[in-house]
């Protein structure tokens, strides 16, 4: 199975978002698609939120933390598609 590499967009918009700061700008692979969910960035303000695709992205610890003691340990997080940009390898 080919791996789909993605990078979390490095942006700092105001308001409620569900993308942790420590993952912004980091590179990982799609672990699985989760389907569409109402955009939490709108729902936080009482709006219904249009459906946005959500993915589980798997990061190597070494790709998150420069000084990771166990570089091949991993971290999975759920990231919305509009926070991801594809990477060409």
């Amino acid at each position: 199975m080919t791996k789909t590499w993605v990078r979390v967009r490095h942006m700092m918009p105001p308001g409620h978002v569900r993308t942790p700061t420590y993952l912004r700008g980091k590179t990982g692979v799609i672990e699985r698609p989760l389907g569409p969910f109402p955009n939490p960035e709108a729902r936080a303000y009482g709006r219904p939120g249009d459906p946005r695709d959500l993915f589980r992205v798997r990061f190597r610890m070494a790709d998150i933390w420069n000084d990771a003691v166990h570089p091949d340990d991993t971290l999975d997080a759920e990231i919305y598609a509009h926070w991801l940009e594809p990477l060409k390898d």
């Binding site: 993308t19 340990d73 999975d76 997080a77 759920e78």
Partner: protein
């Protein structure tokens, strides 16, 4: 009578608990106002609210333990649990509402641990209320930064040959760890196995309790 001269201690020698007489917060006031309106307009009743609180308090890690023990004894169920943990939990009769659950499996090579760095997302419908430490900034920030150090403080020291997989519950999914089935439990019933499945083993900060011997 060593405590006689300390008027901040009760006759039993323990400190008095201070009265909870601080002003209500904005949100406490809002909750009371909305609740009274709902009752006043006949939308719900005080008894219904009390019953719902009882139902929420009754959820406990025993529900999750039953799911794990079934997975240990029923390979078909384990496969369905890994495919779609929400559907598998409903199949066992647990009313988990709209919960979107993912089960992750510990193996000899992989250890999984769950955290929610952004808040305190937790599969309450299966595990009940989260422990206080799960909501602490220390657990939330350190588990993604130095998971093995955190696990070691829980008494779980993992060999370098085991890969640690941290799952940050950042959006709409909730997670449950399927711990490894303890050795020496061949032939055990699911009910008996469930007694070995602790809350922490389903968060990933512990293994299941050891079997006999």
């Amino acid at each position: 009578m060593p405590h006689d001269h300390h008027d901040h201690l009760s006759p039993s020698g323990h400190p008095y608990r201070p009265d909870d007489d601080t002003p209500l917060s904005y949100w406490q006031t809002l909750e009371i106002a909305v609740r009274e309106l709902l009752i006043g307009k006949g939308v719900t009743t005080a008894a219904e609210i009390a019953a719902q609180i009882d139902r929420m308090d009754a959820r406990s890690p025993a529900n999750g333990a039953a799911v794990i023990a079934r997975a240990w004894t029923d390979p078909g169920f384990q496969e369905r649990l890994l495919q779609d943990a929400s559907a598998a939990s409903r199949e066992m009769g647990f009313d988990i509402g709209p919960l979107r659950l993912i089960a992750v499996e510990n193996t000899p090579d992989i250890h999984n641990v769950i955290v929610c760095t952004l808040c305190s997302c937790y599969p309450r419908n299966l595990l009940g209320l989260p422990p206080d430490w799960y909501k602490s900034r220390a657990y939330r920030s350190r588990t993604v930064r130095e998971p093995r150090a955190v696990l070691a403080e829980f008494g779980l020291v993992l060999p370098d040959t085991t890969t640690v997989r941290v799952h940050d519950s950042t959006a709409d999914m909730r997670y449950i760890v399927i711990p490894a089935r303890p050795d020496g439990t061949d032939g055990w019933s699911a009910d008996r196995l469930a007694t070995l499945v602790t809350r922490d083993s389903m968060i990933g900060t512990a293994t299941a309790l050891p079997g006999p011997g």
